[in-house]
């Protein structure tokens, strides 16, 4: 049986390190947002059920185990919530044992008690997760304002389940409000108030075990900004918890979700969380409306990500193919390692399956948004941007990276200001399309490099990998004015025009005409492809390109008729 500083085993009784009279039965789940981990602790005096979770079957199982323990030795039971988020307790709401027997007394920090007794859908996150919540009574509010005035003086309380407890209030050296609860002669429970993830978040210590609720995830995209989240309180709490971890009394840390962590590892993780939390100033609240908006952007974004990554992987495979044809197998092998195509395909497939299930089952927006965040985080680690940019079009790689970053920014709740700057549109567009028309490496550069093997190889890869987008089409540029100055976001505008040109080339246009002229106080840019092989309508208004155009500073429309497709970008406010 494990003990001491060894990891705890899920669903097995084992001694509590540092408290030999106590035993622990952890119920550790794979991390998700539906249900927390749970834990039972028994001492000769008491049974503690920490965070019964979001699933009725999880809570029922814990009730069954508790009843077996009480048959052996009848003891009072306290259900302690590390905070009043619905994934930590909603599994109990329809189980009669919790509501009617009087055996289970719920305990949560005072602010959480108010939330649960009033059935607050926002603070419990029930609204965000599309769930209903009914009020229920809290027998033991923890770390109360009332007891703050009696620091150091033990207060005795008696409960319906027969428990008699003694609570002593204090403050830790790290500045956390703290209560020590004695249940009899056995080990005590220390409760530390650690707001930030929620106002009522607490950490619990029994012997060498520290239960930390969800503070480990409090700075994560899609978690930071939840209703009740507080950046400055979180940073103070993190400082206080780090101080506890440094005190030497904690051996194992139990997060509210996922596996247990050794105290030394947790300390390193807390330093990183604090750094993340410090960067989260002025983020928007993550409520139901923002979750819906983020989920919609997630799906648009993933559609584009799917296309861009498939094209990037395809370009690399193409380069690999050509190098193999040239007998340069080593270089081909090296190039093929620059992108993890299979891993990327699998990630994209994971999101698609999730999104399909989400739409079939009427899923909750925040789950889709978080799934996209998880997949995008892994995609960001699956390719080496700078190395790829040496072989395939850097603009393609930058666009993919920017798309991933834009989504993470939105999920985090940041609202970056639109970076619009004055731009002479005609010169800007001429420069852009010139870059898309000529090879990145000219014939003369390639020929001049044949004395140096490594330079020749680099330029050859460059030449093969960077095929100019407009090389196979008849391209016409026509400007009705000499100069048109507008305010746009340069990067977004460049991406918009590139996406449009890629679309026209991709649907087989044999000729593309770009015209730009003044239309009252607007600049009007028209990109028309003719000889296209496709006839289905382009997605513009309200879609990904529409939003991109809006961010760039313009309005996008499109018309598809027969073998022609025309995009129009109208940019107001000629300067």
């Amino acid at each position: 049986m494990p003990g001491g500083s060894e990891p705890l085993i899920s669903q097995q009784w084992q001694p509590v390190p540092g408290a030999p009279a106590a035993q622990i039965y952890p119920f550790i789940r794979k991390i998700d947002t539906l249900s927390s981990d749970s834990c039972l602790i028994q001492t000769p005096d008491i049974i503690l059920l920490i965070d019964p979770g979001g699933f009725p079957e999880q809570a029922e199982n814990l009730v069954r185990i508790t009843e077996e323990l009480r048959k052996e030795t009848d003891r009072p039971v306290f259900v302690i919530l590390t905070h009043a988020h619905i994934d930590h307790f909603s599994g109990t709401v329809d189980i009669p044992a919790f509501a009617h027997t009087g055996v289970f007394v719920f305990a949560v920090q005072e602010a959480g008690a108010a939330v649960l007794e009033s059935g607050d859908g926002k603070m419990t996150q029930a609204d965000l997760l599309g769930q209903a919540i009914r009020p229920f009574p809290i027998g033991l509010p923890l770390v109360t304002a009332e007891r703050a005035g009696a620091a150091g003086i033990p207060v005795s309380l008696a409960f319906s389940n027969g428990a008699e407890v003694t609570i002593t209030r204090g403050e830790t050296p790290g500045g956390l409000a703290w209560e020590r609860i004695g249940f009899g002669t056995g080990p005590v429970l220390d409760v530390y108030h650690t707001p930030g993830h929620s106002p009522d978040s607490i950490c619990l210590q029994v012997g060498g075990l520290l239960f930390i609720g969800d503070v480990l995830f409090a700075a994560n995209p899609g978690i930071a900004g939840l209703c009740g989240w507080d950046q400055s309180a979180l940073i103070c709490s993190l400082d206080g918890i780090e101080s506890l971890l440094s005190s030497g009394t904690v051996e194992v840390v139990l997060p509210g979700h996922g596996r247990v962590i050794a105290a030394a590892d947790a300390k390193r993780m807390f330093a990183s969380i604090r750094s993340d939390a410090r960067a989260l100033e002025n983020i928007a609240e993550l409520n139901r409306e923002r979750a819906i908006e983020t989920a919609a952007f997630a799906e648009e974004c993933m559609e584009q990500v799917n296309e861009l990554f498939t094209i990037m992987a395809g370009r690399l495979y193409y380069v690999t193919y050509v190098m193999e044809e040239l007998g340069e197998d080593d270089i081909a092998e090296e190039v093929s390692r620059l992108i993890k195509g299979d891993a990327i395909d699998e990630l994209l497939e994971v999101f698609r399956s999730f999104a399909d299930e989400h739409h079939k089952g009427g899923g909750v927006s925040i789950h889709l948004a978080l799934k996209a965040g998880q997949v995008i985080g892994k995609l960001q680690r699956s390719f080496d941007g700078p190395e790829l940019s040496r072989i395939i079009d850097p603009a393609l790689v930058q666009r993919a990276a920017r798309l991933l970053s834009d989504y993470t920014t939105m999920l985090r709740g940041f609202c970056p200001p639109r970076e619009r700057a004055e731009c002479e549109l005609i010169g800007h567009l001429e420069s852009l399309v010139t870059g898309l028309s000529v090879p990145a490496c000219s014939d003369s550069d390639l020929l001049a490099s044949d004395d140096d093997d490594s330079t020749f190889t680099r330029l050859l890869l460059n030449r093969i990998g960077m095929q100019p987008l407009l090389s196979d089409v008849t391209f016409t540029f026509s400007a009705g004015e000499k100069s048109l100055v507008v305010a746009i976001d340069h990067d977004e505008f460049k991406d918009l025009v590139t996406y449009i040109l890629e679309d026209l080339v991709g649907i087989g246009a044999d000729a593309i005409t770009l015209t730009i002229h003044r239309d009252n106080d607007c600049a009007l840019i028209t990109l028309r492809g003719t000889g296209c092989t496709a006839s289905d309508a382009a997605k513009t208004e309200g879609g990904f390109l529409g939003r991109l155009s809006d961010r760039a500073g313009g309005t996008l429309t499109s018309v598809t008729a027969g073998t022609e497709r025309e995009y129009s970008i109208r940019i107001p406010g000629l300067i």
């Binding site: 395809g314 495979y317 497939e349 991709g506």
Partner: protein, 110 residues
């Protein structure tokens, strides 16, 4: 993904429907290899009902191109939907094998 096989004008035509992704790309590769191993050196892939191709699918298309490069070999794709055509075009694959609007044009033109 479903694959039906037909013979026309001395060529094997594999008509594919559905998604060519991580799960289905190996099945496509097996079907193509079976045709080549059976002595067929003229392979036409009809993509009229292919709605999506992943990078794994692109790799199968390239692997086939490598196998069919002897004099007299023929390898082409036809009837691509817009999204798939766009991926192949932008990945640069249209310089490796030909893409035709229809089976008839492929068989007449390759």
């Amino acid at each position: 993904m479903e694959i039906t096989t037909a013979t026309r004008d001395g060529a094997i035509i594999l008509s594919i429907s559905g998604r060519i992704d991580t799960a289905t790309a190996p099945t496509l590769e097996q079907a193509i290899n079976k045709a080549i191993d059976g002595g067929n050196r003229k392979i036409l892939l009809n993509f009229s009902a292919v709605t999506y191709i992943s990078s794994g699918g692109l790799r199968v298309l390239l692997a086939t191109a490598k196998k069919l490069k002897q004099p007299g070999d023929k390898y082409a794709l036809c009837n691509l939907v817009t999204e798939v055509h766009k991926i192949l075009k932008l990945a640069g694959f249209t310089t490796i094998f030909s893409i035709y609007p229809s089976e008839g044009e492929a068989l007449a033109g390759w």
